[in-house]
Symmetry: C2
Amino acid sequence: MSVTVEFHYDFGSPNTYYCHRVIPEIERRTGIRFKYTPVLLGGIFRSTNNIPPIQQFAEVKNKLEYHALETARFVKKHDIDRFVFNPAFPVNTLLLMRGAIFASDKEYYEKYIEASYQGMWELGLDMSKPDLAGKHLSESGLPAEEILSSTQSPDVKQQLIDSTALSVEKGNFGSPTFFVGNEMFFGKDRLYHVEEEIIKQLG
Amino acid sequence: MSVTVEFHYDFGSPNTYYCHRVIPEIERRTGIRFKYTPVLLGGIFRSTNNIPPIQQFAEVKNKLEYHALETARFVKKHDIDRFVFNPAFPVNTLLLMRGAIFASDKEYYEKYIEASYQGMWELGLDMSKPDLAGKHLSESGLPAEEILSSTQSPDVKQQLIDSTALSVEKGNFGSPTFFVGNEMFFGKDRLYHVEEEIIKQLG
């Protein structure tokens, strides 16, 4: 008996980076591999009329301070020690997410994910810039030219649009979002419940 | 070694009712009693410029459906089976919360809390109405007249204002909110972390 776990991610969201660092712990404990599903967060926001919390709660006293506190707790609990806030934030991730679509059926998909997250949230590179992204991917041992040129393919473009639309159709409105079977969970602080649900579905 | 746990609550919030039904489990497991601190949620919203999620996310596709899903999961997990959505929602809780301030140093405080939550979220009474509230409190074995007349006392009114202001000063922006020592947690889905923090502080 197996369980399907999808992680709908966009490299532009630091919260998905935090999740990416914790997912291996859950994979180890449950024996279930997470499937990384590329989505474009900007597209999800547009089609659900959502906005990032930092805008949503900009005028609310105490709220963003509490969000920061929760993040600090999460980081501490999971010993996440290489994070740097990207100075180019918010980074347009259209290039990176199209690259993810292209890479998703290649044997180097995991390496691509790892390199992209490192570039975005450990090295703080502006990965929207093809030259910077290409250099970093190449230095990470990836076929940068092949990946970057794929991002101009109409088929790759359409697949990212479709993946994003399907995610919204399944109930998504933001990121990070998880589907354990059909059960949706939103937010890094739901990883505990994601694991609980995996164990439940494993029976 | 003891740990101080404050539950900042307003009877008007169904999420605080759900918490109220789960707190006894945590008290049993940890041996720590929660201190119930009355606050006026409307006052917190005004002074932090916050609004209820149902307004905040009214135009966001999928978001409120997900909130409902999370509530359904919580209710199922904790076997909460007597909840009815109050037909008079949103109920003005000024009367009830002033009553809570007055009752908070009486030996019947717990009984008052229980009766008020039952009235609001199991019987669905419009507890903003002094006659209805009084009848229900009286039937619950409480000195309704004494409690209701206290709600006109300038001292009681001021204490509720002060309690609400202090809550915001400590970092609160909504309800349900918990303080374990100085560590704040927001939302019914943080009860797991509240318990974790209690255990941590107990050493």
